[in-house]
Every structure is written in structure tokens, then in C-alpha cells.
């Protein structure tokens, strides 16, 4: 018996809910249809042409992200026709702009001239800043594509790096529109959009202004969404390579939303922060503080030893000395003036465990209930 809502993908039959796209059904069943412009949580655009599939009885190859699954539909995700089309799409993207990773190909003469150009644009003699961390490069490997011999294109728009956080490198933009969707549909900041008319090959902030002078609030959602090296954190660009870092998942230390984030660490230093996708409460989103506010951690102004004040000046002290001093003074004050002459201000900044210990110390050791924190402030 034929099930009511059943679709066949690569020879296997799957059930689906009305309203599911082909891509959704495939992903749910671990069939890997590659995508570039598709962004979870935003309306599918069917723009980049990478997620196309072959549907029996149709000449055209529809985009799986924006085509609804239909009953008894028969779909092939890696047919020769599909692969051929995907390769052309990817090759075209690779050959436009400054994609100077190995995927560009290494026909020697061609490469040297190209690379020299890119180096000038980039002010760096290294390969692409996101080498090894790029969806386009991944696809080029997967489908064995190089842009060798393809005519390069002229870079029309200069790099924009006048803000402290984000470098916009239009030479590597493939116009997938993920950044626009991230900004308009996920964060709803409405700072950027596709350009019109003469600027139709550029993602622009309102009036073609720089991000700094636009409505951009530097949440960095667009950077996290960009599949290539067109949007990169300023502090990361040409300073940090993905393979040099390890990721530690934690919770943001700023506001009460408690966004889940990854700290990317290189040589005991946080070099980048990204949002954890697919989990509450933030599903990958962050704000400017969570994403870019980590420099305080290794600030040279951090305190490194206990300090004791003597004659109005601080001097460094050992833990033993400082702790003994505090213990003696508090014991003395407790004896002389009683427990309620002491108070503790714990913190809305430190962990639950630390607040618990502060609460226990105040009540059980100092024997007073004079404990509060500054949250009401």
C-alpha cells in the first residue's frame, strides 16, 4: 500500500509532513544535499543553485530548499545531471573574485598573476583567510572542481575594514544572501540588503554606507552565516587559522539571556567567539558583547596576586599572608562588634556555585544574614 505522504529519495521511501521541503525530508533522513544560501530559520531563497535535485518527470532541476515534497515524488540528489549542474555553479563562483585557495587550481602562469593581484588587495601574502573553513572550498573538494583556466573577474569594490569588528571583503562574496537573511530574518536588524541596479552585485548597507555608519549593531550574525571569506572578524583575519584553535562551549558572561557560545582558544587566549547553533536559548545568535567583548579576559590590567594596603598603598602579598590577615581581622570584628557588624556583597556576575559558597560563608561562618548582591542596582 502506498502511504499517503511518501517520497522516494535516491531509491528509498520516506514519509513527510505536508509543508516539508525536499531538503528538510532529506536532512531528517541523513541524506546530505549540499547547500550554500540556505539558512535555517529564514525563508529559503533557492538562490545559489547548489541544492538542486532531479525530480522524475521534470526537465528543470528544482532547488530542494524551496520545493515542497509531494506525494510519490521521485528524487535523485546526486544524479549525473545534478552533479554536472552543481559543478558548473560552483566553478563559476570559484572563478569570480579572489578565491585564492588551492581550489582555484594551480595552472602556474595563471596562478602567479592571480595570486599577486589578490595579495595586493588583501595586503597579505597568505592564502585566503578562511582557508580550511569555507563551504565553497569544501564543495570544490567534494566535486573535484578547480577554476584553472577560468578567466578571473575584476574586483569592483574595495575591502571595508573601518569598523572595529568586521571586515567586508567583497572580492570573496558569492552573493548567496545568507548575511542578508541573517540580518533581516534572524536578528531583524535590517542593516544590509542586496544592492539595486548598478549595485546589484553587492550586498549593501542602506545608501551604500559603511557598516559603521549604518543601522548595523555588530551582532556578527552575518559573519557566522557567511559560508566563505567575505565576512570575517577583524581580529581573526590573517591572525588565526581554524586548525590552530580548540573550541570550548560555555555561557555568555554579559546579560541574563545566557546565550550558548563557543570560545575559540589559541595558545591560552580567546581569539574568537561563535554562537552554538541548534540549542536554546539563542540558537546560534549572539550580540556584540557576547561575540566581540572577550578582550577583557587577557587584559594586562587583570589582577594577578593578592594585594594588601599598607600606609595607603597596595603591596603584593602571598595568598597565605592575605588570607590569614582577612581571617584575623574578620574574627576580631566579629568578637568585638558582633556578627551583624559584617556584610557580604555577592555577585550577579559569578557562578551559582560561588554564590552558594558566599551564602554559606556569610550565614554559617560569619553567622549573619547580611548578604545581598547588586542586581537591584
Amino acid at each position: 500500500m502506498e502511504a499517503q505522504n511518501s517520497i522516494t529519495i535516491n531509491g528509498n521511501e520516506f514519509l513527510f509532513e505536508p509543508g516539508d521541503t525536499i531538503l528538510e525530508v532529506a536532512r531528517r533522513n541523513d541524506i546530505d544535499i549540499p547547500t550554500l544560501c540556505y539558512l535555517k530559520g529564514a525563508a529559503p531563497r533557492g538562490r545559489c543553485g547548489v541544492c538542486i535535485v532531479e525530480v522524475e518527470g521534470q526537465d528543470k532541476l528544482p532547488a530542494s530548499c524551496s520545493t515542497l515534497a509531494a506525494n510519490q515524488m521521485i528524487v535523485l540528489t546526486e544524479s549525473p545531471k545534478v552533479i554536472d549542474s552543481r559543478r558548473k555553479t560552483i566553478q563559476k563562483m570559484l572563478s569570480s573574485g579572489n578565491h585564492n585557495c588551492a581550489a582555484r587550481g594551480s595552472d602556474n602562469r595563471d596562478w602567479t598573476a592571480f595570486q599577486l593581484n589578490v595579495q595586493q588587495d588583501d595586503k597579505s601574502d597568505q592564502l585566503c583567510p578562511v582557508w580550511g573553513d569555507c563551504r565553497l572550498q569544501d564543495l570544490a573538494y567534494r566535486y573535484q572542481i578547480s577554476a584553472t583556466g577560468m578567466p578571473g573577474t575584476i574586483v569592483e569594490y574595495p575591502m571595508e575594514d573601518v569598523n572595529p569588528f568586521i571586515v567586508r571583503d567583497f572580492s570573496r562574496c558569492i552573493m548567496c544572501g545568507r548575511c542578508v537573511a541573517a540580518c533581516r530574518e534572524i536578528q531583524v536588524n535590517d542593516a544590509i540588503d542586496f544592492g539595486q541596479n548598478k549595485l546589484s552585485n553587492k550586498i549593501i548597507a542602506f545608501d551604500n554606507k559603511t557598516l559603521k555608519d549604518s543601522d548595523c549593531v555588530f551582532c556578527g550574525e552575518c559573519v557566522q552565516a557567511c559560508p566563505v571569506g567575505a565576512l570575517v572578524e577583524k581580529d581573526v583575519r590573517y591572525r588565526v587559522r581554524q586548525w590552530e584553535t580548540r573550541k570550548v562551549r560555555t555561557t555568555c558572561t554579559y546579560c541574563g539571556v545566557g546565550c550558548q557560545l563557543y570560545l575559540h582558544v589559541k595558545d591560552n587566549k580567546i581569539v574568537k567567539v561563535t554562537g552554538v547553533e541548534g540549542v536554546a536559548p539563542n540558537y546560534g545568535s549572539l550580540c556584540v558583547k557576547g561575540r566581540f567583548g572577550y578582550n577583557f579576559v587577557d587584559s594586562p590590567e587583570r589582577l594577578t596576586t593578592p594585594l594588601i594596603k599598607e600606609n595607603g598603598e597596595f603591596r603584593e602579598a602571598s595568598w597565605d599572608e592575605a588570607l590569614d590577615l582577612v581571617a584575623e581581622r574578620l574574627k576580631g570584628i566579629k568578637e568585638e562588634y558582633g556578627s551583624d557588624s559584617m556584610g557580604v556583597l555577592t555577585s550577579a556576575r559569578v557562578s551559582n556555585e560561588e554564590n552558594y559558597i558566599a551564602n554559606k560563608f556569610t550565614r554559617a561562618t560569619l553567622k549573619t544574614n547580611n548578604i545581598d548582591h547588586c542586581a537591584r542596582l
Partner: protein, 540 residues
Amino acid sequence: MAGLAAAFGSGAMTNTIEDIGVADVILVTGSNTTENHPVLSSVVKRAVRFKGAKLIVVDPRRIKLTGFTNLWLRPNLGADVAWINGLMNVIINEDLYDKKFVENRTEGFEELKKAVEKFTPEKVEEITGIPARDIIEAARLYGKAKAGSILYCMGITQHTTGTDNVKSLANLSMLCGNLGIPGGGVNPLRGQNNVQGACDMGGLPNVFTGYQPVTDFDARKRMEEAWGVTDLPDKPGLTVTKMIPKAHDGELKALYIIGENPLVSDPDLNHAEKSIKNLDFLVVQDLFLTETAQIADVVFPSRCFAEKDGTFSNTERRVQRIRKAVEPPGEARDDWAIICDLSSRMGFPMPYENSQAIMEEISRVTPSYAGITYDRIEHVGLHWPCPSIDHPGTPILHGEQFTRGKGLFHGIDYIPPDERVDQDYPVYLTTGRVIYQYHTGTMTRKSEGLNECAPECFIEISPQDAKKYNLDNNSLVNIESRRGQIKAKLMISGVAVEGTVFIPFHFAEAAANRLTNAALDPVCGIPEYKVCAVKLSKAA
């Protein structure tokens, strides 16, 4: 906090962040959400833009969210009780309230009805400056919603009438049966990362962990047993806002401050500074030599969130892990380890192997955290109350019944703000935050990029007022209240409302809190940051 606890029996956000996305109507008041809780504000914006939710913004300033609604009510500062009563007046008169809910789940309705009777839309217009027709429209919108969510923040609580304001919002939500349902609720947004946790963990003068009162004999006995001590004090302690005057009077001799910087955040800073300097002994434990640490007798270096293991509880009561990513600088230690070590030296050893061992003890002594373990929250955090190890957590509070049984209406009258403008001080000042800075700036001001975007203090003023007082954009201006004065640059902006200026409070060198009023809400001791009277003049 106190307001919600009085109405429902629990003071936390009733619903989750994600849940705001399924509301039909969202009422945001006293929260500049896009600046202070940016990722949460996206949930609101998406609901409005893509899911057809209706937004009501009640705020004196033209905050960004006003761009997402046609219904922006602009009340005079400190007039919150009046407009909320006005909404309820209309909702009751037009029979839009949820009678079944009121009957089955609440008490005190008659008192409420009497209290709001006189708050007709016309009367409310007089007090608040909000046009009567807008009051009616907002009342109908919220009153008819299937699920209406209320979000609020410091703009509601930082008033002498803060507790009343919150009780009023609770009244409004209960009146329309918006509690215990998806997309409903009364949701206080917590400013700092672990305000919720600090409260949950007994960082309050009147309760142990999980809000077990120190005055409760059984609670004390349980704690004494768990901690192996006797004679835990049974009298509630001092709030921070009472500690400061006691320090001033010489009754409080010693203060131990963990990771806070009251010398920038305290209301009426000049007074606070004198008071804290008057202590016999001050210990500060922090990341930096903050303004407060500078006047301490002993300073301990502590670790930041990236250097330690533990948990934070976010504004939606979700307990989430933090994990050590980098080594701390120098000899900096975990805050808990410092205190435990100190306690041992004072004769009461508190040995723990690690933060996980502490969490195990927390679960043992805290019913609402009983089911929370590091293993269970490895990937996704849990919402308390989570009373047992197989309990899935509680995303929405007050489902079947309120924590206190029935929800309690409070009839509340409008009381004008403590300090009003007069001839000498003709302009209202209100304080708040900007997106690029955080609290007293101890961390953000050390992040170059953030500082570059918002490097200095400013006075935000309406074009009308700038003209009236003959002040130029970007010029340096003196701003003076009865308590002190500061200088800052003037920023003329359409965000400001006529008659009121705004200053962010992150900047120590021009601390807005040198001007603000320390008059306190009588119940929860929150100072009136949001309203005080000032005068402006050109700086020489």
C-alpha cells in the same frame, strides 16, 4: 522580584524566551530590549515581523522597538501604576477580562476592581500624558489576546514605586488569564548574567537557596544539619541599600565584596563613597582593581567566566554550564576557592574538590534544584523548578496553580515619583545602558572594539530642550542635581522626550549615579535610578 513574589509566590520570569515567540500580543515596558537583551529582542522582533504578533511598547524614550509597532505609549516618568490601572479599568469596564481564570485561580479581585475604578482613560491621560484613546486601544489589544506576554526590566523596577509597578503588571496579566499558558506570562528580564542564580543561591538577606526563608524554623534546621552547624541567624539581614547607610553610621564595620563595583553602580554615589570609606575593613575580590577595589584593605584576584567551571542561571530560570577555556592570569583563583580557604582559616572548614561537588550539595539542600546535575545539563540547560532527577524541568510556571496557591490581586494607588522637577531643577533625568557597554564597564571598557563604539558618557536630550536651554550638539555640558554634578557631552537626539534627559551609567569618570536619588522602594530596596530632577548649563 518582591512584587511578583507577592502576587504569585515566585519572583522569576514565568515563561521562557522562546515562548515569547508564540504570543499574540507582546507588551514591553521599561525595557530597552534591543540594547540590553539583544538576542531576546530578536525573538520579539521576529514574532512581530513574521508571525503577526502585535507589539505594545510603553516607554518614555523612542527606543528601537518603537519602530516595530503602531502602538507606542509614552508615559511621563514614574507614572506606571497609572497607565496599568488605566488598562485594567478599560478591560474590566468592557468586560474583556478572563472571568473563569479570575474566579478559579485568583483572589482579591474586588479590591482590584475598586482600586482601578477611578483610573478612567481621561484621568490616566491627565497623569501620564498618554492619550486616552491609546489607553483604550492598548487595553483592547491586550485584553482580547489569546496569549499576551509582558516583558519588563529596570525601567519598571528602579523607582520608589517599583514593587507597586510590578504588582500592577501581575494584576494585568492575571486579569486576562495570561499565566500558566504558552505565550503568556509576566517576564522580568535580568540585567546581568547571573542575577537569577545569585537570588536562587541565597545571595539575599532573607532567604537560603531556593527562597527558603531564614525566618522559617524548619528551613534553618535543614541547613544546620546539612552544613553541620548550629545557631544559624534567624533574623533577615540587611539589603545592600541598607548596608551603605549603616556603614556611614559606623554600625557596619566590615564588608566583603565579590565581583561588584558599587562605587560606580550605587545610587547617590557621593554618599556611598563616604560610607564605604568609613568601614573599618573592606575586602574586595575581583578581576580588576575597580574603583571599589582601590579603597579596599585587601584585594583578592579572581577568575573570570572563561577560566572556571560552574553554572549560571539565566533570566528564564535555565541552569547552564560554564566551562574553563583558558588558564587564569598569575595566581588568580576561583571565587569559591578563596572563600572556602578563608572560612577554614576562620575555623569552619568548607572543603570541596571542585564546582561539581558544590552543585551536588546545592541539589541536596535546594528543592527547586534537586534534579539538576552537571550530567543532565551537559548539552542543554534545565529550567528550575526541577525537583527530582527524572523531572524534565519547568519551562512555564504557574500551570495548574500558583506557587502560593491562588494568585493575589493587589489594589494599588498611584504615587508620584519621589523627586519632581521644580524651578531650580527643571528637567527630569533617567539613567540606563547602551548596547556596547555593560554595567559599570569593568569588562566592556577593556575591550577596545566595544569601547570604540561607545567610548564616553553622553547626555541625550530632545531637540526642543536643547534649544530651550541654548545648548549645542557635542558641546560639554554641566548637569547638576541636588546631590552632585558631572560633565558630559551633549547628544541631541530624537530618541529623547521633551523635558527628560538620559545618561548611561557605565562610565566611572562621569558617573551618572553622582546625580541619582537614593530614595528606596520601601519593599525591595531598589533605588529610584529612573527619575530625578536636574538642571543643565554650558560647561566653562
